[in-house]
Symmetry: C2
Subunit: 410 residues, 2 copies
Amino acid sequence: MADHRAPVDGARVLDDLNTLRSIGAYKGGVHKPTFSDAHIRSLHWLATKLPEAGLAADIDGIGNVLGTSTKSGPKLLAGSHLESQNFAGWLDGPLGVVYALEAARVINPDADIKGAVEVASWCDEEGHFGSFLGSRSYVGAVTDEDIDAARDRSSGRTLREALREAGLAGRARVTAERGRHIGYLEAHIEQGQTLESGGLAIGIVTSIVGIWQYRISFVGEQNHAGTTRMDLRKDAGLALARFCVAIDDRFPGYSGPRTVWTTGRITLDPGAPSIIPGRAEMLFQIRDAEPAVIERLEDLLRSMAKDVTAQGGCAVEIERLRTGAPALMDSRFQQTIEDASGRFAGGRSVRMPSGAGHDAQVLATIMPAGMLFVPSIGGISHHWTENTDDADIVTGAQVFVETCRLLLAE
Amino acid sequence: MADHRAPVDGARVLDDLNTLRSIGAYKGGVHKPTFSDAHIRSLHWLATKLPEAGLAADIDGIGNVLGTSTKSGPKLLAGSHLESQNFAGWLDGPLGVVYALEAARVINPDADIKGAVEVASWCDEEGHFGSFLGSRSYVGAVTDEDIDAARDRSSGRTLREALREAGLAGRARVTAERGRHIGYLEAHIEQGQTLESGGLAIGIVTSIVGIWQYRISFVGEQNHAGTTRMDLRKDAGLALARFCVAIDDRFPGYSGPRTVWTTGRITLDPGAPSIIPGRAEMLFQIRDAEPAVIERLEDLLRSMAKDVTAQGGCAVEIERLRTGAPALMDSRFQQTIEDASGRFAGGRSVRMPSGAGHDAQVLATIMPAGMLFVPSIGGISHHWTENTDDADIVTGAQVFVETCRLLLAE
């Protein structure tokens, strides 16, 4: 086979990314929650770009943008997402969508390459309304009842309202046509410091860790903050604080080398300065690639809760909200990314698990899937200062497009 | 002087309190935030009742309801407030207003008693928009600029909007006519267990403790909860939890016997389950009757914050939002409440400080002031289960009216 050395247009990739950054711009990043005006405009922007790559564009009834090809031969699905966390970075999501678009622009018109790259922007990967709603809808794991029940976690707006306001009410949801694709490829910023600190250009994802999420609730006694003596209090907020500290003190003795755990939200009820909180709640997350580690930590968590409750102050309850089995990336995809990195990134690649969840883990349930990472400056993510060097973005695009070409050629 | 033994109508007092309870009812209590519909209806209810006591009713430009008398002789001001904390109890506020109304109904028409009781319902004692806005307006401590700036802490609605919606925009605010009143008397539920556990009927308030309030802010590094290794994190939420626990461990070594401290609200920023909080904030309150104790505790707090910041993880800042000098209740008022308790409560009274703030502390800045407490069942307050025995409510009313009579007669 001839060496095509896919002619990636680095300036075009950076232009597209900066265009998406300008829609819903916030400081150096973006504020583009799911079905915000900025998000909807970004979906339409993508739909107008897809024909440049020989793709027919469709925005479906859950907000997925899908670009499909009539070219003969094998088809590779590629993409990521366009919405952002609140006040977050410009690359988390758009990078993978623009790489997919670029791959389609380079490969699809080329008669010497058999097959085509099809492009997807999955809606709500960031979980404003749910958990991987768009990609899960595509693989057939979202029911109409799930959609009826979903609400924006911040504003409370229902998903049905949001879809109506976005002009998507009543549209069909597109689901995967089994056997259509040889697999799914996604690129993303690393959101960590492994690549940067190792002087590397490409992370080859081996697996996506599972996320286990819990609601931990504390029940004490709501009372007046001025008239209730310290020794008579059952302060649910203080019990929560002690529990957070206890987790941080005890988890390291039971966790694996890459386990992470986070308390992302705390709510005291009623939350007034002159009232002792009678109830308190925390959202708590554990991630690891090893279910056995999680099991050990969940056991510890539950026994800690039992101990606190037994002491008779505040009662602690633990509810598991999300159970995340780790997803393995296809070994052939891993090898192909490594080969492409050898040609376009001087072999500066490393195999590594992903600590973050991605749509690839959902697509992996119905087809072979692969992921590659590009470096994040300072490892910063989910914050508007998130960034990647332009040169690294272009190198990543070259490796991505080459990986697509090699996968289609196999 | 003849022994009048003020003919209090206990059933009427309970009826009035239950009528106010039915306006904005929530379970056994009420949800009546400042300038909610239920609150406004309660103000109008009072305004229609005041003429029964020979008082001219006015609702002024800050939502204070004032009943004024043209009867000759000394005048005693009495009252409390009608709004509630969110989803809170039925007596916190209304008890003192209805007692004042009852005193006015008993005393004002009685030609044998010189002088009159004037009734006040102070707006926003519960601090939805500010801090003692109504009584502070009455003593001249609130400027128009303060009103321009005030907003509902929960909904964000401005005070100007709320006043407009309540039909009070453009009305003058009534301020105290110096020398008009011999003093101010207020009754309230205890909101603690001192009276109940001692089998007592009346608490004679000696002083109202000062409230010092702080915003304690933690700055770490916002980052991705899946991709940021535990040893690289600067988790502002965890730093806050550790600070709460450290306060609770260290304060007892520096506090007085009646000092209380409370973390009533915690906010993690951005508050999403998959993001390590980059910022966190807590509202923290200390109360004591001794400014020297508070000073010691504030020094400790600041040195703890300095230590945490010096450790290089998260930076901690402490901002004092509220400085509350304790207010002394008038000794003649205290003695008169004790005398009245001797006659109507079998002497089952005790002198005690108030751990809660009350409008009496504001009125005390311009006239002699006194306060009496009735028992709270289980000491519960700022919760819809707050309650007081009907018999204790009636006894309290008798002592209150007798105290008014005695003060006017002196």
